[in-house]
C-alpha cells in the first residue's frame, strides 16, 4: 500500500484548469520526482496534496486515511509537509522562531530542542544568525531555513518545490546528499525540480506533467534516456 495515493486529481483556478486527472503514488521510503515545464502544474499539485488549493475532482489518501477534503493542518498532523516555492520565510520572525514554527504542532519540547541543534549543525550559516530576523538572510540561506523548518515538523512525507533554486552548485550537491540521507532514515520524498538531471539521479520513480496532465511516468533511468524528455526538459543541461 502506498503512503500517498493521488488519484485522478483535478484542480482549477477559476475557469482555468491547472490539473486534470493526475494520478501518482509515493510508497513509504521512496523518493518520487515530478518534472514539467514552467506552468505545467507542479506547484499546484504539491499545494493540492497539502490542501492549500481545493481539489475539484479525484482523491487523495495519505497513510490510509482519505484526506481529499481535509484542511492543510489536518494533513500536516498526519505527517505531510511542504517546502514551498519561493521559500516563504517569515521575515518578521527570527531564524530560530522560524524553525520553532515548523514544530508548532508538536509537544515534545526536548526532542524539538535536540533536532533544532542538529539542524544548526547542518546549516552553519544559520547558527550565527539564529536570533536575527530572517529578513537578513541571503537567498540561499533562506532556502536552508525553509528546509530546516520543514524538517522540524518531523514529517513522514516531505514535499519539496524547487529546493535548489538560487543555491550554489556546491550547496545543491549538499542538498541532494541531504535528501538522500533523510530518505535513508525513512523519510519519503516528493520532489519537484528544475534541475532535472540531478532529480532523476536520486529518485526511485518519476512523473512528467504537461499542461496539467501526466504524460509519462515510471522508472527514472528509463525516463532520463527517453528522447522526448531529453528534448523537452533536459535540453541545454544535458547537451554539455
Amino acid at each position: 500500500m502506498a503512503l500517498l495515493e493521488v488519484s485522478a486529481l483535478s484542480v482549477s483556478y477559476g475557469r482555468v484548469a491547472a490539473l486534470t486527472d493526475v494520478s501518482l503514488s509515493v510508497r513509504e521510503g521512496e523518493i518520487v520526482t515530478v518534472l514539467g515545464a514552467n506552468g505545467a502544474g507542479k506547484s499546484t499539485l504539491l499545494k493540492a496534496i497539502l490542501g492549500a488549493v481545493p481539489a475539484k475532482g479525484g482523491g487523495i489518501t495519505f497513510a490510509d486515511s482519505d484526506l481529499t477534503r481535509a484542511a492543510p493542518h489536518r494533513r500536516m498532523a498526519q505527517g505531510l509537509v511542504l517546502v514551498p516555492e519561493g521559500r516563504r520565510i517569515l521575515i518578521s520572525l527570527t531564524v530560530e522562531e522560524n524553525l520553532l514554527l515548523g514544530a508548532h504542532m508538536r509537544r515534545d519540547t526536548v526532542a524539538i530542542r535536540r533536532e533544532m541543534d542538529a539542524i544548526y549543525g547542518r546549516f552553519s550559516n544559520l547558527t550565527e544568525r539564529r536570533h536575527m530576523l530572517a529578513s537578513c538572510l541571503s537567498g540561499g540561506e533562506q532556502q536552508m531555513l525553509a528546509i530546516g523548518r520543514a524538517m522540524m515538523a518531523k514529517p513522514r512525507l516531505m514535499m519539496l518545490d524547487e529546493p535548489s533554486l538560487g543555491l550554489s552548485p556546491l550547496f545543491v550537491e549538499k542538498l541532494f546528499d541531504l535528501i538522500c540521507e533523510l530518505n535513508r532514515d525513512g523519510l519519503s520524498v516528493l520532489l519537484v525540480e528544475q534541475n532535472t538531471g540531478k532529480a532523476l539521479k536520486v529518485a526511485h520513480a518519476a512523473t512528467v506533467l504537461e499542461l496539467g496532465r501526466v504524460t509519462m511516468d515510471g522508472d527514472p533511468k528509463a525516463l532520463a534516456a527517453d528522447p522526448r524528455l531529453q528534448d523537452a526538459y533536459l535540453g541545454g543541461a544535458n547537451a554539455h
Binding site: A37, N38, G39, G86, N125, E128, R129, M132, C136, L137, S138, G139, G140, E141, Q143, M144, E162, L165, G166, L167, S168, P169, L170, F171, V172, E173, Q194, Y233, L234, G235, G236, A237, H240
Partner: protein
C-alpha cells in the same frame, strides 16, 4: 580602456556580521562580468551597495567614472547603472507597458514631461519607444497585459527591458536564469547577447555556470565577503579554493 564599474576597498557589516570585507574589482566597459560565490557570500549585498539600497561602511564605488559612493539611490540610475532583482519586482498594479514607462523616468523627468497628458496623445513618443523595446525583445504581445498574470520567464525579461529603457550602460542582473526552463534560459541568453552587442556591459550574479560561461568574459568569485579569485571562468574553475567553496567536487553544475 575605461571602466564601467570600479569598486575599491569596499566593506559592509550587518549587526556585527561582516558581509563584505575589503573588496575591490573593476568591470571594464564592454567586458561582461559574473559575480559568483556560495550562498551568503555577499553578491546581492554588492549589488545593493552599488545601486544605493545600502550605504557602505568603507570604500568607494565609481560608475562610468562618477563616484556614486554617497549619492542618493534614486540619482544613481542617471550615471548609467540599472539593476534587476533576485525576486522579480514589477509593479503588479500596472500593465507591462506602464511598467516600462516608469523605467523611462530618468530620460523624462522634467516638470513638463511629468505634466504632459501622454495618455491622451495617440502614439506618444514614450509609448512608441516602450513598445519598440518590447517588440525587439520578442515580448510585444504582452504589452497591455497586467503584470501579475504573466509567466515567470516573461516577467523576468520585462524587468530587464525596463532596466534598459532607462538607458543604462551597465546592467546588474541578480540570478537572471534562476527558475527559468531551458528554452526560457535560451531566450534570455539571446536577449542579453543582443544588448551586449549594442554596447551594454553586464554584471551578473548567477549559479548556472553554463549560462555564465556563455555570456561573461570575466568572473569574480566571492567567499565570506572576500574576493578569492578572478579571471576567465575556465581558469577560475580550476582554482582549488573555488572548487572547495563553490563548485564542489564534480566540477560541473
Amino acid at each position: 580602456m575605461s571602466t564601467a564599474l570600479e569598486i575599491s576597498a569596499l566593506s559592509k557589516s550587518f549587526a556585527g556580521v561582516q558581509a563584505i570585507r575589503d573588496l575591490s574589482f573593476t568591470v571594464p566597459k564592454g567586458v561582461s562580468t559574473a559575480l559568483i560565490g556560495p550562498n551568503g557570500a555577499g553578491k546581492t549585498t554588492v549589488f545593493n551597495m552599488v545601486s544605493g539600497v545600502y550605504g557602505v561602511d568603507a570604500g568607494r564605488i565609481t560608475v562610468n567614472g562618477v563616484d556614486v559612493t554617497g549619492m542618493p539611490s534614486r540619482r544613481r540610475i542617471g550615471t548609467g547603472v540599472a539593476r534587476s532583482f533576485q525576486n522579480v519586482r514589477l509593479m503588479p498594479h500596472l500593465s507591462v507597458l506602464e511598467n516600462l514607462l516608469v523605467g523611462q523616468h530618468v530620460r523624462a523627468s522634467s516638470l513638463a514631461a511629468l505634466l504632459t497628458p501622454y495618455r491622451l496623445i495617440p502614439n506618444h513618443r514614450w509609448k512608441r519607444e516602450a513598445r519598440a523595446a518590447l517588440e525587439e525583445s520578442g515580448l510585444g504581445r504582452w504589452a497591455d497585459e497586467t503584470v501579475s498574470a504573466l509567466p515567470y520567464g516573461v516577467r523576468k525579461r520585462i524587468d530587464l527591458v525596463r532596466a534598459t529603457l532607462a538607458g543604462a550602460s551597465l546592467l546588474m542582473l541578480d540570478e537572471p536564469a534562476a527558475g527559468l526552463n531551458p528554452s526560457e534560459t535560451n531566450a534570455l541568453r539571446d536577449h542579453l547577447k543582443a544588448l551586449m552587442a549594442k554596447g551594454t556591459t553586464l554584471l551578473v550574479v548567477e549559479h548556472d555556470m553554463h549560462f555564465v560561461e556563455s555570456i561573461c568574459q570575466n568572473v569574480v568569485v566571492l567567499n565570506f565577503g572576500e574576493k578569492i579569485a578572478e579571471g576567465p571562468l575556465s581558469r577560475v574553475r580550476q582554482d582549488p579554493r573555488v572548487r572547495e567553496a563553490y563548485i564542489g567536487s564534480d566540477g560541473e553544475a
